[in-house]
């Protein structure tokens, strides 16, 4: 059974420690004259309970900043650190930092695994014992309202269902940070909003920080905080009033 959608309570964040912090973090691709600066010295913090919409035009550097937050890319200058999160021992350089779950825009499920197995993968990779991981995966599927799809293969799911599975997979790891990169980018608006609701519920349930990149204002309006990326520069001063 899915959790009831929760209203996000406004909070200042005062007294809550940052779980992700970047300081003048920049990311440049290439060298010399052909170098492209995707992110210019961004400084920001994410705390538990944060609900952030990172908006901006295509190519503004949203995804790159998200990747920096996830530890999937390293800054070419400045720093990104995850105070309070585990070091992620045993994880590869290509993996997201332990405690951070990432949801991608396109299909991100393993097509040869069914829904339950897809949700189990990060738990198994984290070394969660099988009985416990089964319980957590089932709980996560129930939390996003798709436990009846557990035995289906990705090819048998709609786009919205597939993204819900991705949310469940993120939730199952009990993350402290959920980073979603255009999770509704390939969905119609109604389905996209359902996915966002599922994300919010998952973040609430995990008591995690949530950052969603999007260029859809309806999606951004569902989140309390709005950060704007413009030509690689991050502006964190925006607030939205449409959040619950």
């Amino acid at each position: 059974m899915a959790l009831p959608l929760t209203s996000e309570v406004a909070h200042s964040g005062a007294g809550i420690a940052a779980v992700v912090r970047c300081d003048q973090a920049a990311r440049t691709y290439g060298h010399g004259a052909t170098a492209i600066v995707a992110v210019h010295g961004a400084s920001a913090e994410l705390r538990r309970g944060d609900r952030v919409a990172l908006v901006g035009a295509s190519g503004s550097g949203k995804s790159t900043l998200l990747h920096l937050f996830a530890g999937l890319e390293r800054p070419t200058s400045g720093t990104v650190d995850w105070p309070g999160l585990g070091t992620g021992g045993g994880r590869s350089d290509a993996s997201a930092v332990a405690g951070v779950s990432v949801i991608f825009q396109g299909p991100s499920l393993i097509p040869t695994l069914d829904v339950l197995e897809n949700v189990l993968v990060p738990l198994q990779l984290s070394g969660v014992p099988r009985p416990a991981s089964l319980v957590r995966a089932s709980d996560a599927l129930e939390a996003v309202g798709i436990s009846d799809l557990a035995a289906r293969l990705p090819d048998e799911l709609s786009g919205g269902q597939a993204q819900r599975v991705a949310v469940a997979r993120a939730l199952a790891t009990r993350p402290q940070v959920i980073l979603a990169d255009e999770p509704t980018g390939q969905l119609d608006s109604v389905t996209g909003l359902h996915v966002i609701e599922a994300l919010l519920a998952a973040a609430e349930r995990a008591d995690a920080a949530l950052l969603v990149t999007t260029h859809d204002h309806r999606v951004a309006d569902r989140l309390r905080t709005r950060w704007v990326m413009e030509d690689g520069r991050l502006n964190t001063d925006h607030q939205t009033g449409d959040h619950r």
Partner: protein
Amino acid sequence: MKRSISLLWLAGLVRRRAPRLAATAAGIALAVSLVTVLGAFLTTSQATMTQRARASVAADWQVEVQNGDPAAVRDQLMRTPGDAAVSAVNYGAATGFASATGGTSQSTGAGVVLGLGPDYRATFPDQVRQLAGSSDGVQLAQQTAANLKVVPGDKVTIRLQGAPPVTVTVAGVIDLPQANSLFQRVGASAQSQPVAPPDNVMLLPQTQFSGVFSSVPAAVTTQFHVRRDAPLANNPADAFTQDSGAARNVEAASAGAALVGDNLGAALDAARGDAAYATMLFLFLGLPGVVLAAMLTAAVVGAGAQRRRSEQALLRIRGVARRDVARLAVAETTLVAVSGSIVGVAGAAGLAGTALPTSMAGSVSALALWALVATAVGFLVAFGTTMVPVWRDLRSPHVLQVRGEAAAARTPRLPWWLRSGLDIVLLTLAGVVFWASSGNDYSLVLAPEGVPTISVSYWAFLGPALLWLGSAGLLTRIVLLALRHGRPVLEWVLRPVSGRLASAGSASLSRRGPVLARSVVLLALALSFAGSVATFNATYAQQAEADALLTNGADVTVTYPAGVQPPSGLDKELSALPGVTAVEGMQHRFAYVGADLQDLYGVHPNTISSVTALQDAYFTGGTATEVLQRLQARPDSILVSAETVKDYQLQLGDTLRLRLPDPNGSGATMVTFRYAGIVNEFPTAPKDSFFVANADYVAKATGNGTQNTYLLDTGGANQASVAVAARTTVGTGAAVSDITLVRGQVGSSLTAVSLDGLTRIELGYAIVLSVAAGALVLGLGIAERRRSFAILSVLGAGRRELSGLVAGEGALVVAGGIAGGAAIGTGLSVMLVKVLTGVFDPPPASIAVPAAYLVTTALAVAAAVAAVTVVAARGTSRRPAVEELREL
């Protein structure tokens, strides 16, 4: 406009999908080059057979004058198109020859005197071989000279029926290598030909011959020997038709005055059967390779099918009409077909220059012809493997949902043809066909002597083809069932290499059953192709050597003419020659069974095997060892040919009374034997009927133990030098032959052509196909799943775990492929050798297993798959996962 879109599309494909295009083109190139090279091999082989058949006869035609005017026949022959030289030969019958040398007189039975014109030996150089003395004047055949104990300079008396004897002086001693055809009964069927050429032969200059036989013209017949230069077709069968037609034309035009003994036709007649066998070899050994190359291409295309579907779906979503999507697919297919064909033909030309004999490499026209055929095959493969799935997709009224990777099966079901048990049915049918085609009355190629048509039993293909298909189906069934029910085992196997990914890995492998089964089956079929071709070729080489050994008897053989007593202690002298490891004396005599005269070999059963290899296939009713033990245990035992057993309705243990003529020509002795078994082949024995008996028993029963054949074993080395030493020891009194010379002369024209070139090509392709089947398909499959690996990587999978997953899949494909390949290859080899028994002479008792090649092939596949695994594993971690995800 549409043309520019096609070009744009192709340019994009070349830039972004070059590996996939290259792999598809490589598969087509393999098929094209294989067809080209094998086709050129077939054409040039057949041409070589025709050339060799032509070169093997000393005189193409022997035209005998029948109650007509010899001059008129000569004029007619001179006018016949294609007759390059015509020379008259007179045959005179003598009642015997006599000599008086060294204080003793010798005489022979009936003989033949030939009168040759002055240009004869120059025109037909292979007919007469000078052994001693001068080539001018009277010549005596070697055996006659030995019988009469004369040397050049001695006198010999010719005895004639109804005329006084004539004495001549011998100028030289000669050998007549083609005595059988020289003394043939012109116009008679093969069954009516003399059993052996005359023992006593003298050659006289034509003027001298006329003088000797002037008083007995009835004893003389006249032939014209003809050398032809009419162009012949490459194919022996067509050449046979051309030649025999010309010969029949001469007979018809002469209105009965001339009868043609068509030696060239007889040689071509024999070669056309071999040519039919060559065609069968081409089909048996070449077709599977082409089919495999096509399957490989289909697998490569299949590996990128989902991506192609996605691209086509996107095009259709954006409003491109189905017809235009199909046009783009045709453009892509044409690109790979053209590039694959060009590479294939170029590769074939290169191979022809290195792997084939020079004569074949030079056959540009054959290469060009087959290049065209192969290009057609290449286009067929390209369009069959690419356009058929495209056409199928485009028929769907719905645009398929865009997915990144191939869809998985929830519970991989057996395909309908396996659920209906088709694989079992095919294997059962293969067994039935094999049983039917391996019966004694079965003949793959039937080329009745003298009949222009050749009957080739193409049904023979059915057995191996059904076995191939049935085995592939059964292996698919086994792999699918193992993957479906063996997940716990898979997880256990993957655990050490892929660690925490083992569970997901086993589930993934299990659901990828159809794809993995295809990879395993393709590799197994490629390996079975390699194995069966290698085994066939090794067995062929083994039997060719056995054939040479059968013909020559041993590494080196010393043969004295019948009736000539070798010097005492010769065996010891021969044993002492450097390089000789064993010497075995053997009696070669003749025996009458009823009215038939057959060869009889008296052997020492205990020691004969020390100098020559006796295969079990040489005997029926027991192994070689068992049969020889029978001869030893009961000395009056005799081994008889199957034909004689059938003709005389013999039962084991029956008494057989044979009349053995004395080798010196002084009467005969009746000897009682006991029939103890069937002998099919025996060293130095003829192809037709003969006897093998215990030498000691024959000596005791006839009072003559002369051993006129000595078999020398040299341990398989230095045969030529040992032969030279043996010649020095025995002088001109005996013939010495060694196996190195015989290898090039024996057997059919098929074995003479040699399968070396074909073997090199086949084995090379088999390795390439196996490696490609294992590595290419696996590599492309992994490449198509980069997104999954990137996602796993983001989710926390380490390099070791991902590499382990890739390695596990590779190991599964290799293990399944090698095991399946070994099983299918074994069955196919046995079937192939049995079905193609007619190619072997003698038939093999057991197949030869080329272990080194098979191990090398398996190692090459394992190494290639390992390399692909390593590269793929590196590829999964070389680039940041997010970059992969952005691109895919």
